[in-house]
Amino acid sequence: MSPFDVVVVGAGHAGIEAALAAARMGCETALVTLDGQAVGRMSCNPAIGGLAKGHLVREIDALGGEMGRAIDATGIQFRLLNASRGPAVQAPRAQADKDAYARRMHDAVSGTGRLTLVEDEVLDLAVEDGGLVAVVLRRGGCVPARAAVITSGTFLRGLIHIGMTQEAGGRIHEPAAAGLSAALARLSLPLGRLKTGTPPRLDRKSVDVARLEPQPGDAEPVPFSFETERIDRRQIHCHIAWTNERTHALIRGNLDRSPLYAGVIRSIGPRYCPSIEDKVVRFADRDRHQIFVEPEGLDHPWLYLNGLSTSLPEEIQIAMVRSLAGLEEAVMARPGYAVEYDYVPPTACRHTLETRAVRGLFLAGQINGTTGYEEAASLGLVAGINAACFVQGRPSFVLSRGESYIGVLVDDLVSKGTNEPYRMFTSRAECRLLLDIESADLRLTPKGRELGLIGEERFARFEGRRRRIAAWSAALETTPVVPTAGVRARAREILGIALSEPTTPARLLRRSDVTAEAIGRFMENHAGVEVPAGLTARERRAVADRLRYGGYIERQERDRERLRREEGRRIPAGFDFAGVGGLSAEVREKLGRARPETLAEAARLPGITPAALTLLNIALERRAHDRVRDNPRHRRTTC
């Protein structure tokens, strides 16, 4: 096989974004998968988004990634979560037609230039002088590559548990990848073990959903992608069922046959996706638990039982399902199961997701210790972009914690590590109010453009939106509203408020009883106000929503600056550790070998004393200080 710039291993949600990004940035890219029909397969729930996860998808989209457009094209139920709360903590979630979603992703991959889909298994990685040189395939043999992105999901030495029986596999009835773990271990990458689980699927024909409580989607679906104008696909309902005392008794009576409770599985699973066994045992006082009955597609023959993740034996699972009111006749199409798999503790990676141990080797997705399609896709995008930057000799791509959830995700992982599957939460972000879904493009699309992931036309549309938003923001913040008789009358009529003091529209918006629409109408006839041409209702709402937060936004902007400064404590690439005075030869050598990216990382290295850290910090601060002082532009402003 001819050489590639970037080889991406695994065609799940991380692999797809990595491969598309690398190819779109101009790299000859291979996407290697065990099964060419399994591109973008949803192993677990047929849904994308949710709080914090929907935020991630917006950011992926803003950077030119695929996930947002794919779910918009194939979503069959959309809900904006927390719609009654503040704008920063709202996010979209959608049920996917999972086969349509996978087809859509397959088409994206095959329709992208410089991207080759390769059906094969990676057996080994060839490394010379600490840098990756080739990927060894079972059928294709040794393929030279300048960079590789491993997105192995649950396939690295995957072990599936159903009751007391185990079977090697990454997903049920799909073989595991065995060789790669050994290769990673040989390259002195640490390996750990995690666990996740999935619920049983039911034969759709066997369930009369009319007997269940319906859960409709939003009447006006909010799309994920900034490029999607509206959702066209037919929308459906999900349904709600409840467990009961009989279900719980069944579970309690069979805990000795649950691999989790019988001590067969020791790996840690995600706390926020507990198995039903966990829920019943840990919350023994609850007399019922909610189960969402979700179709896996418009015409898909299966139903997904969201909330009933389990690894009990098949016959117990059937009995358990049939104990739920409305599911008495259900036929189980596929049992739920738990899966254990290898991951590489993410502190082994840099902020680019390149491994410290091997130049040109990147890891993304569940192999980083995360859970969730959206986390995986975010990491895939970051790894793919950085693999391309690495190949092309461009500066690496690292987002700040203050500007994106993706930045928080990567930084949390590589600087703190994780020992349970990591999931994004909005509260992990220090500057949550600044990271709302409507500002994702304002924050990130210029960067996507710079990378070459945003086309000219899309960027022009973005520029228009950015201009309109900036102009409308400025108008609301600076236009004086003076309570003359006429203005008072209009305020009473349009806003429903009594105006007594001079103010601005932005200040009026801090009142909870003043809507974005009303302010818009109020402003339209206001002296000296020009409503930007083409301003959409959505843009109007986004501007008003941000202004509503008032002083909190300014506080968060200060937090963002602080974060940026802290991140400035990063140790620049090529920093001369030997030039730091006062360090012992031993410490100098250790630092030179490990090349920590941040002071925090340096602190974690064995044998690095507090005194050595202090010296290092001083050297870094002086370096930053000198740079500012030596820059004549800065000199003028500081003195």
Partner: protein, 439 residues
């Protein structure tokens, strides 16, 4: 007291009223004047000296307040500066800043050793405090309650649509609970003042007429010749302070010039200072001369000290009685008097016992009670309390949980500066143990 940073001169100037005309902030020139607390009350007189970058110790704007070096004055100035926006320096921070700004050569081993030592010393102090466990056991429940509040706010945001959360509506009562915790923290911040006695020592001031033997008594209590003792009245012009361990109760003993009417200008200042000291003392020892007649000045001095803070001492009992037996009997009856001779040491143990009895009730309360030991801790506790007040206000105004959470997080961060940081994962652990969440 040294201030460093961009607002150093502004803050120092605000504390200072210059005695003469002219710009007090003029660089490199010592200006005489009065340092005042935030309420305008004079703390001490002294000099303000301003240094501009880069020619200052730290390389930043620096203001130095040169005053009399007693702990009380220093504390007063530090507190006044903190009230105007300065922050107590971390141990070794000035050296640190000097290094960062290149004012000290990196290889100057001496400065560096200071810095590193300061840090370990600080660590040792903190460790010692933790070991005693008193403060942390008082703070732990507050920190727990605060982490719970944050967990409730976050649970309502992240998992508001989960039935378990929707049923519990953990956001309810967030405001009042935050206000309650804020009040707890305010009390703790106030404990800095009551903790002072053990931290800095009880302030015991010697007062009395010139040549009543205050300095002799001072030396006798200390067991060394520190104050200059001469037979001339008014020898002790300035304030002299020493610390003294009174069987476990730390005492700052202050010898003053006496509270008499001043004979000249130089005296007047010393006497004023003595009076100021007596006013802020925990106990005032009024020293009377057994060998001389009781004077109006003696009577005034006695009357000037509130009975709760007065210990009367009849000195020079090794000499013939000149004060009169009636007076002695009256003194014995009313304020209670200790009869002693500083020269021979007779009666000194009685005085020690008496001092300890008087100071102990206050000192004894403390070992079981939490108190903040440094201005830095008080600052952090006050900051956490203020953040909680804001959180309560935001909740009252109907701000979203995501806004209230910002203030709660600020409070937790400030508290973390005393007790050690709270990891976000700890907040999630609280959510997941309290609520059944997840699909």
């Amino acid at each position: 007291v040294r201030l460093s940073g961009p607002r150093a001169v502004a803050i120092a100037s605000a504390l200072f009223s210059a005695a003469a005309n002219g710009d007090p902030a003029e660089t490199g020139r010592a200006r005489f004047g009065t340092f005042r607390a935030t309420d305008g009350e004079a703390i001490d007189r002294g000099y303000l000296v301003v240094f501009r970058p880069p020619r200052s110790f730290t390389g930043e704007e620096v203001a130095e307040c040169w005053t009399h070096g007693s702990p009380a004055v220093l504390r007063g100035i530090v507190e006044a500066a903190a009230a105007r926006g300065a922050r107590p320096a971390e141990p070794g921070e000035f050296t640190w800043r000097a290094l960062v700004h290149g004012r000290i050569d990196l290889t100057q081993a001496e400065g560096l050793r200071d810095l590193i030592e300061a840090r370990t010393l600080h660590a040792a102090r903190v460790a010692h405090l933790q070991e005693r466990g008193r403060l942390s056991s008082a703070l732990q429940p507050i920190k727990d309650a605060l982490a719970d509040l944050l967990a409730r706010a976050e649970a309502s945001i992240e998992f508001g649509e989960e039935p378990d959360i929707a049923a519990a509506s953990p956001e309810g009562g967030l405001g009042p609970d935050a206000a309650r915790l804020g009040a707890d923290l305010e009390r703790l911040a106030a404990s800095y003042e009551s903790g002072r006695l053990l931290r800095d020592g009880a302030r015991v001031v010697l007062a009395g007429l010139p040549n009543a033997g205050k300095s002799s008594l001072f030396n006798r209590l200390l067991g060394e010749a520190r104050a200059i003792v001469t037979p001339l009245p008014g020898t002790t012009r300035d304030v002299i302070e020493e610390s003294l361990d009174l069987q476990g109760v730390p005492v700052i003993l202050t010898d003053t010039a006496g509270l008499h009417e001043a004979a000249n200008e130089a005296d007047r200042e010393a006497v004023e200072r003595a009076r100021a000291r007596a006013a802020e003392a925990d106990l005032v020892l009024v020293v009377l001369d057994w060998s001389r007649p009781f004077s109006d000045a003696d009577r005034e001095t006695l009357a000037a000290v509130p009975p709760g803070r007065l210990v009367a001492v009849l000195n020079k009992v090794d000499r013939p009685c000149g004060i009169g037996l009636d007076r002695v009997l009256a003194l014995r009856r009313r304020p209670g008097v200790v009869e002693l001779s500083a020269r021979t040491g007779e009666g000194i143990d009685d005085l020690r016992r008496r001092l300890r009895e008087r100071l102990e009730p206050e000192a004894r309360l403390l070992p079981d009670e939490a108190f903040l030991t440094s201005l830095r801790q008080r600052d952090l506790a006050a900051r956490a309390a203020a953040a909680l007040r804001r959180a309560a206000g935001a909740a009252r105004e109907g701000q979203g949980a995501e806004c209230v959470a910002i203030d709660l997080r600020d409070a937790l961060d400030a508290l973390g500066g005393i007790t050690g940081a709270v990891d976000p994962d700890e907040v999630y652990a609280r959510i997941f143990s309290a609520f059944c969440i997840g699909k």
